[in-house]
């Protein structure tokens, strides 16, 4: 069983940039991508700031190099752009004799399209080419679209565990390599904004009408976002003679089993997930140089996660930030997007700031870092992703030596 997982490619698109270089520039300059909606039409468009990518669907189709009348979803297009960027950096080809899989993740799938066409689908008097969109509704469709466009089809699958989805894709992909079932995997996730999701989160009353402030005592909720983040991960053998960006050294998944949407006050599931990740990596909490928290800015998550972190790190936390004030909460894609950020932190020896933080939470003894830090060597990064249904995941990324 191959024991090391090497990361050889990164790909990302989000409200702060259309690729890795743009994202790093925004992170380095504290430039948030959270604004009022410009493209998606909804009753709530003036109420909530979101991390919307400033490209229309037509522009995304063009960037993907597809004909203008190509029928696929925004989720799929974002996924392709990010997955392609990662595959290009990793210089992998479907014809080089290595078994390559694609494990993606999504919560929205094609709902952004379905919600606009649903009544027409049900109306037998209406017909047209747009019926082709019906097949794009399912979660697995965007993954198969990416697989078809990139040509990798040895193994394809899709995970949906709410906001821990793409962290789980990365974990599953790594294990497929360790068991010798694949040589390399493109792993991550994608989610586009949709009225379904925006309205869904509005009913939960956990959206901030201002830019979110994770771990702040006055925090009011999260900002939704959209995007895609993918890594190419390879076995040691497959990555021979390649530039290795970082390693996935640890991972863990657990369930809070407390409530359908709320995390337990003590963050029991979060603690278990981190504990498993440390066990796999062989590292100790004192080895971690930077924590990229899930940090959504909701009353419940930040308290729950903060409590679990204090217990795990014995109240002595390394620099910690949530990058969700930059991108918004990209739901199923956040694990993949934040994995890209974790690797960038290692490559550039940077800690990204936790924007909008002002007031310390009385329940916690730590404060997130509010300035970008460039003075510390970052060897190991912990990245957390927690989702509805109590699904808790933690990943550890490490410098490749």
């Amino acid at each position: 069983m191959s024991s090391k997982i090497y990361i050889t490619g990164l790909g990302i698109i989000s409200a702060i940039g259309n690729n890795v270089a743009e994202s790093l520039d925004a992170l380095s300059n504290s430039r948030s991508g959270v604004h009022k909606l410009r493209h998606l039409r909804t009753r709530h468009q003036d109420t909530i700031p979101v991390g919307e990518i400033d490209l229309s669907d037509a522009q995304l189709i063009e960037r993907c190099g597809l004909p203008p009348d190509f029928k696929t979803t925004r989720t799929a297009l974002l996924g392709l752009l990010a997955a392609r960027e990662a595959a290009t950096q990793a210089a992998i080809s479907p014809r080089d004799g290595l078994r390559t899989g694609i494990i993606s993740a999504t919560s929205v799938g094609g709902m952004g399209t379905t919600e606009n066409l649903w009544l027409d689908y049900l109306n037998p008097e209406k017909s047209g080419d747009w019926l082709k969109y019906i097949e794009t509704h399912e979660c697995g469709d965007s993954t198969e679209f990416i697989a078809d466009e990139l040509g990798f089809k040895d193994y394809v699958s899709t995970i949906s565990t709410a906001c821990s989805s793409s962290a789980n894709s990365i974990m599953y992909g790594a294990r497929l390599i360790k068991h010798g079932l694949l040589d390399r995997v493109i792993v991550g996730g994608t989610d586009a904004l949709s009225r379904f999701t925006i309205n869904g989160f509005m009913t939960l009353m956990i959206l901030d009408t201002q830019n979110c402030k994770p771990f702040d005592a006055e925090r009011k909720g999260l900002n939704l976002g959209e995007g895609a983040g993918f890594l190419v991960i390879e076995s040691e053998q497959a990555a021979k003679n390649k530039k290795v960006l970082a390693e996935l050294s640890g991972y863990g998944n657990a369930n809070d089993a407390y409530h359908q949407t709320a995390s337990s006050p003590e963050g029991a599931g979060a603690y278990l997930a981190m504990e498993k990740a440390f066990k796999i990596s062989g590292l100790k909490p004192t080895d971690i140089d930077y924590i990229n928290a899930h940090g959504t800015g909701t009353a419940i998550n930040d308290l729950s996660e903060g409590t679990a972190l204090e217990r795990m790190f014995n109240k002595k936390l390394p620099p910690i930030s949530s990058t969700k004030p930059f991108t918004g909460h990209t739901l199923a894609a956040c694990g993949g997007i934040e994995a890209v950020f974790a690797v960038l932190a290692i490559q550039n020896n940077m800690v990204f700031p936790s924007l909008n933080y002002v007031n310390p939470m009385p329940e916690l003894s730590f404060a997130p870092t509010t300035e970008i830090q460039k003075d510390k060597v970052i060897d190991h990064v912990l990245s957390n992703s927690f989702g509805f249904g109590g699904n808790t995941s933690a990943l550890i990324f490490s410098r490749h030596n």
Binding site: T203, L204, M205, H259, Q260, T261
Partner: protein, 84 residues
């Protein structure tokens, strides 16, 4: 007031899909959350929508719900005090 309370009980049963509960089972001052009916935070959100849809009263902060939804009695009082 009694009419409002009776109406409210029916609406609560319907909104929260409390199939096996009848109006007579819900005492005016019995706690709705925790013990009593054992409702939870998702039910609180449902009740916030009920207030807006049926009575035109908007609650912006879900944390306010705790006091308002203590019992059917407190709910009815709140509606009476705030109805437009």
């Amino acid at each position: 007031m009694n009419e409002l309370i009776d109406q409210l009980k029916g609406e609560i049963i319907e909104q929260l899909n409390l199939e096996d509960i009848k109006k007579e089972d819900i005492k005016n001052d019995a706690p709705l959350f925790g013990e009593g009916l054992g409702l939870d935070s998702i039910d609180a959100l449902e009740l916030i929508v009920l207030l807006e849809k049926n009575y035109g009263i908007k609650i912006a902060n879900p944390a306010d719900g705790k006091k308002i939804f203590q019992s059917v009695g407190t709910m009815a009082q709140f509606i009476q005090d705030n109805k437009k």
